[in-house]
């Protein structure tokens, strides 16, 4: 552990970790089990074309989410564009999206022929603020794309009520919330459809991929027909599906390990002044995946968030600012889109960073991160001074 400021890696010291501690989940099944799954796929020379492994994965995931239909696709973005294009029915208008979210959001709605209309978020779950959504809907609004966040989904009931009352279809991007619940009910059956990811950094590792869940028979049929008939090439291949399928079997274990890491961060950060671990909403009632540890960098912390991230990254702890800057102030905001003041999104985008997590971060690693952060706090003035000298 560091005994002096010059031992920090950012000032030339040896990094705390031998290898990078990433933020992605990167869960894998046993290699031999995966190879066994692959053998018949290669024996039959059947690598794609909505094969039997994709069909089995769809059945398992529909069961897991408690929905009638699961449609596996090449990746979550393609799935979202397919659903959005179907729901807007050829109309061009605006799609209501949260301003505090991942950078793909404004791009995805444009591929569906819509322009993003950024809305503010609420402080509890960081999802679309229902009041702001109700106010933002106008005659050009074609769809609401709500994003369920990893630490707290979003205010699903209120958003669904508005969507229904204002007669605007609502779709949930639940990529970050696979395994979470709302009102005690597993995500997957809310809105007209939900879309999940099979990217390696998410809860189910299928290398890359995604899937759509819905209870809407007609919508499911259209999406399946588009994918199967070759009107849209959105096929998931069998190698990816086989990996994801094995990861479904171990999902509970992965969530258990995530929660252990999260509790370790709770213990470590309890004694670190100025950094506040973001709490999950209504933990006693809801399911969460505990995939990530988000930390608010308050004004009692001696460094800026950006400098803190630099210090951690030099130690090979892959911290990142969380959804920063807010989308309407980022390079991802299309030219010509109105940029309103969205105070909550802007404040949250300045506040949080996330810390290493996933399968490559052990409980001991979390303890090391805690110790490092305590050291940084203790020597905050000197670190700040040296960072400023280096920058000059």
């Amino acid at each position: 552990m560091k005994r002096a400021v010059e031992e920090l890696a950012i000032f030339g010291g040896t990094p705390l970790f031998d290898s990078i501690k990433p933020v992605g989940q990167l869960a894998v099944p046993p290699l031999d089990a995966y190879l066994e799954r692959l053998r018949p796929i290669f024996h039959e020379h059947r690598l794609s074309g909505n094969g039997p492994v994709v069909a089995e994965l769809e059945r398992r995931l529909a069961e897991y989410h408690g929905v009638s239909h699961c449609i596996a696709v090449a990746n979550a973005c393609v799935g979202l564009v397919m659903v959005l294009r179907q729901l807007v029915g050829g109309k061009r208008g605006n799609a209501i999206v949260p301003a505090f979210s991942y950078s793909g959001i404004p791009h995805i709605v444009q591929w569906a022929g819509q322009m993003p209309k950024f809305c503010d978020v609420e402080r509890r779950r960081h999802g679309l603020d229902p009041v702001a959504v109700d106010r933002a809907i106008d005659e050009d609004t074609t769809v609401i794309l709500a994003v369920a966040n990893v630490h707290g989904t979003c205010e699903i009931d209120a958003l669904q009520e508005i969507a229904s009352r204002r007669k605007v279809p609502i779709v949930f991007d639940s990529v970050s919330a696979l395994g979470a619940s709302f009102g005690g009910k597993m995500l997957g059956s809310f809105g007209r459809a939900e879309v999940f990811s099979l990217h390696a950094t998410k809860m189910l590792n299928g290398f890359e991929g995604g899937y759509i869940t819905t209870n809407d028979d007609a919508l499911a049929q259209v999406l399946r027909d588009q994918r199967n008939s070759g009107v849209v090439n959105a096929r998931l291949n069998e190698m990816h599906a086989a990996l994801a399928l094995l990861c479904v079997d171990q999902l509970d274990d992965v969530i258990g390990r995530n929660e252990a890491r999260y509790r370790a961060y709770e213990r470590e950060l309890a004694s670190v002044e100025g950094l506040e671990l973001l709490r999950y909403v209504d933990e006693a009632r809801e399911h969460y995946t505990y995939q990530m540890a988000f930390v608010a960098v308050t004004d009692r912390w001696p460094l800026t968030r950006e400098d803190t991230v630099k210090v951690l990254r030099a130690e090979r702890a892959f911290a990142m600012p969380y959804y920063s800057p807010a989308l309407h102030h980022s390079s991802h905001c299309p030219i010509g889109v109105a940029v309103p003041e969205l105070p909550v999104a802007e404040e949250l985008a300045r506040l949080f960073m996330y810390l290493p997590g996933g399968e490559h971060t052990t409980i001991d690693d979390v303890a090391s991160c805690g110790e490092l952060l305590r050291f940084v706090h203790e020597h905050g003035d000197e670190i700040r001074r040296r960072l400023s000298e280096n920058a000059a």
């Binding site: 990167l26 894998v28 290699l31 995966y34 190879l35 692959l38 053998r39 290669f42 020379h45 059947r46 690598l47 794609s48 074309g49 090449a74 990746n75 979550a76 973005c77 393609v78 564009v81 294009r85 991942y102 950078s103 793909g104 791009h107 995805i108 444009q110 591929w111 022929g113 990217h199 390696a200 950094t201 590792n205 290398f207 890359e208 008939s229 070759g230 009107v231 849209v232 090439n233 959105a234 096929r235 998931l236 291949n237 069998e238 190698m239 990816h240 990996l243 991802h332 299309p334 030219i335 490559h360």
Partner: protein, 356 residues
């Protein structure tokens, strides 16, 4: 009953798959422009004789990103009527209107003179197809598009390895797309790449295929998750390593079809037109007396033989040449699992259908 499938369906040997998967697990690098995708970008460029290739999710994504990298927003894209439905949909997703132009009766490709007459102020670009695996008159269309200052993209998915006048498919126009679907010569399960001679175009496509600030090489207002993962990249690399052998197997099978179908007057096996061919698509032209390609495909189906019209459906009233191609050209199984006896079985069934 064994089903005789359309498509190539080549896979690498199991040892290659096992070693490749083991390597991916050891590196714990599954997606996001991993080391195998980077290798593939280099290998695909070399193999098509261009400096740059960018691997992406699949052929539809390749068309979405190539179009966005070259065509101005919201214009009209000229294409042949048999452009595949998913590539057409890719252009629609990109916000383009597609204007179909019938093809030339002899070359079965877009006619440069007709294209020139059709280009107007609304034209954003041209998408041409190396149809049935033939490069054909691509150089002529390329020169005409350049003179008109209209960007040109080729769908080279049927033609990887085909060449004319020493130039390989994948090297024509401002960019080409090569599919790595399981029906293609280069089978990665799913996947594709965009090939180009332009550093600027490659930088745009490389930027377009992801949202990450660290993977930004050009200012692109619209982006997408179009990344290829490591498993398909591993298979595509193995396919490039095996491609000479695969083409030789295709060529031998083609020769078997030649022998099996000779002396059947109502069926003409379409020979490649280029100096160098990949023999990926096995297509027979049916005499009108035999019936349409769709009809013959339905007749073969009960015998476990997959067949289909060799080009996508089109309105014959609007596009007589492409419409006739849809009606008269029949594609037959020509994949890794088709043995000589299967070829003779298929030919025998065809002869009986032709004789009725």
């Amino acid at each position: 009953m064994k089903r005789l499938r359309l498509g190539q369906h080549y896979v690498p040997s199991w040892n290659v798959v096992e070693d490749g998967v083991r390597g991916i697990f050891e590196r714990a690098y599954f997606a996001n422009n991993g080391p195998l995708v980077q290798d593939l970008d280099r290998v695909a460029a070399e193999a098509t004789g261009v400096p740059y290739a960018v691997a992406v999710t699949n052929d539809m994504m390749a068309m979405m990103l190539a179009a966005k990298s070259l065509f101005r927003q919201g214009g009209v894209v000229i294409a042949p009527p048999f452009l595949s439905p998913q590539l057409r949909e890719a252009l629609v997703w990109g916000g383009y209107r597609v204007r179909m132009l019938d093809v030339d009766q002899i070359t079965r490709q877009l006619d440069p003179d007709t294209v020139e007459r059709s280009v107007d102020g609304e034209t954003a670009g041209i998408v041409a197809v190396h149809v049935l695996g033939n490069v054909g008159n691509a150089a002529e269309l390329e020169a005409r598009a350049a003179a008109l200052n209209v960007p040109l993209i080729f769908d080279a998915s049927d033609a990887f390895g085909a060449a004319t006048s020493g130039r390989l498919a994948g090297s024509f126009g401002d960019a080409s797309l090569v599919s790595f679907g399981e029906a293609d010569l280069l089978n990665a399960g799913e996947g594709a790449c965009v090939t180009t001679r332009s550093l600027e175009v490659s930088n745009r496509v490389r930027t377009l295929r992801n949202f990450h600030p660290g993977q930004t090489f050009a200012q692109m207002p619209l982006r997408m998750n179009g990344k290829m993962a490591e498993a398909p990249a591993m298979l595509a690399l193995a396919a490039f390593a095996d491609v000479t052998e695969r083409i030789a197997m295709n060529s031998r099978r083609f020769d078997t079809y030649r022998r099996a179908l000779e002396a059947v007057e109502s069926l003409t096996l379409l020979e490649p037109v280029d100096e160098q061919a990949n023999y990926q698509r096995l297509v027979v032209e049916l005499a009108p007396s035999v019936g349409t390609a769709s009809h013959v495909a339905r007749c073969l189906d009960p015998y476990g033989i997959e067949a289909r019209p060799a080009v996508a459906a089109t309105d014959a009233k609007l596009y007589p040449v492409a419409g006739a191609m849809f009606e008269r050209l029949l594609e037959l199984p020509n994949g890794a699992d088709i043995r000589d006896e299967d070829v003779f079985e298929i030919a025998g069934r065809l002869k009986k259908i032709a004789a009725i």
